[in-house]
């Protein structure tokens, strides 16, 4: 954890966040303009190189996509989709898939381990493997299918948004490597403005009437935002959820159910105590 990053949220942490409010940091964001992505995979390689992740053996699967999904040691994957639009034109969509760094992170909500997942004040959601217990509740909590389990170390991994680089004032490795400028990094406000400008340009000059910015409100917005040719149909971009939310069951589980359960347990204990005080034990006559 870098000294320049201040924590905003901690998973499974009773009580207030230490140091909260001591200093404000601007929310950062990564902008991915899918309309200028060329699927070159430089970001994939940069991610592996910077994070010192190993090479892996892959197999050809009738696609340019390196592998079907991200992996515990492969955090950044371009998803390729051949898509026929309704107007009969054809599109080859490429979307860089990685952790979205939600403002309201489902992984953090679901995590039972104190401090295993933190959200920095700049919006980065980071797994702290030292505290991770490997329960994989985050897998269930994430609406983007991102956290991955390392069966060897029994820890969870995902994109860190290069906290180590960002805390030193550098852009994430993927951004650095992107040759076309399809990836941008900056404050959330700046990225949002840039994205909106681009989306407007796509609507006005490129004939993409539904071009827009993907910054899903269901998770409070994300620190990774996309410009999509058709923001009304994000699912076609390799399964980008159209309205991601923290799963309802995780909300119930971590909300009402927990309090209901606590109440039931405490109520049960009180009940038996009262019963004992009122009725006492059952003695069997002649058994003294």
């Amino acid at each position: 954890m870098s000294s320049n990053l201040r924590i905003q949220k901690i998973s499974a942490h009773p009580g207030p966040v230490p140091g909260a409010g001591a200093q404000r940091q601007q929310t950062v964001a990564k902008l991915i303009d899918t309309t200028t992505c060329i699927g070159c995979k430089a970001c994939e390689v940069a991610c592996l190189e910077w994070n010192d992740l190993p090479f892996r053996e892959t197999v050809f699967q009738n696609s340019y996509q390196t592998m079907p999904e991200t992996a515990w040691n492969y955090w950044n994957l371009i998803k390729f989709t051949e898509h026929n639009r309704e107007d009969g034109t054809f599109q080859w969509l490429m979307r860089k898939d990685q952790c979205m760094h939600c403002a309201d992170p489902g992984c953090l909500a679901a995590c039972p381990a104190d401090g295993a997942i933190v959200q920095y004040q700049n919006g980065i959601v980071d797994f702290q493997q030292d505290y991770c217990i490997g329960c994989q509740y985050c897998v269930t909590g994430c609406p983007f299918n991102i956290p991955r389990f390392n069966p060897e170390s029994k820890k969870m991994f995902k994109c860190t948004l290069c906290t180590d680089r960002v805390s030193q004032g550098l852009e994430p490795a993927c951004i650095k490597a992107c040759p076309t400028g399809c990836l941008h990094f900056g404050t959330k406000d700046d990225m949002k403005a840039l994205a909106e400008t681009r989306a407007q340009q796509l609507r006005e000059h490129s004939g993409f009437a539904h071009a827009g910015v993907y910054d899903p409100p269901g998770v409070g917005g994300t620190s990774v935002i996309y410009v999509l040719h058709d923001v009304t149909n994000p699912e076609v971009y390799g399964g980008l959820p159209s309205n991601p939310r923290i799963p309802w069951s995780v909300r119930i589980w971590k909300g009402p159910l927990k309090w209901l359960g606590n109440l039931a347990i405490v109520g049960g204990l009180i009940g038996v105590t009262l019963h004992y005080l009122r009725f006492g034990p059952k003695d069997v006559e002649g058994d003294k």
Partner: protein
Amino acid sequence: MKLLRYTLVERIIHWLAAIAYMYVLLTGLAFYSPHLYWIATLLGSGPTSRYWHPWVALVFLASIAWMLRAWIADMRITAADRAWGKAMNHYVRNEDEDLPPIDRFNLGQKYFFWAMLWASIALLVSGAVLWFPEKIPWSLRAVRYIAVLVHVGSALVTIGAFIIHVYMGTAVVRGGFTSIIRGEVSAAWAKTHHRLWYERIVKRDNLGPAHRAR
């Protein structure tokens, strides 16, 4: 006169289940609430607790399975149980003399047994999903969502049952606790709490001093 209520094997299995359940309960509680996470630390560490929780749960389930096989005959709910059940308010008020006679287990114990059994099955199924969530395809992710609720819900059912079970077995029914330790109960105890069983045993064993329960 002493009667053998639980054989040695039954007692061992019971305590195996009890210890396993306690472990799973405590570690489960640690994962259930941040305020109880210290339990995990106490029991080794978060990762250790997480690692053993499902394995110990399997031990618990194995003991439950054994109990099911051993006690299924005794756990069937009979007409006598239903009569007892109607008069249960007397039992609660310790007016045991007003209760109809019952066999080896009373309706409460049977409910406890069945509740634990079904909850355990639910915990097993939902636990498997939680154990290997990545094995559940993304398209079936609703299964994961249901699993977390089922797991917590069933666990709460067992906790409720467990509280009553421990309370009844230790504080309320005097002699009950000894019976699961040493296996024996007094004839008077048996006559009071499980008259039909008592009579059955006395008759089967020809009224001699009890050596065998069944």
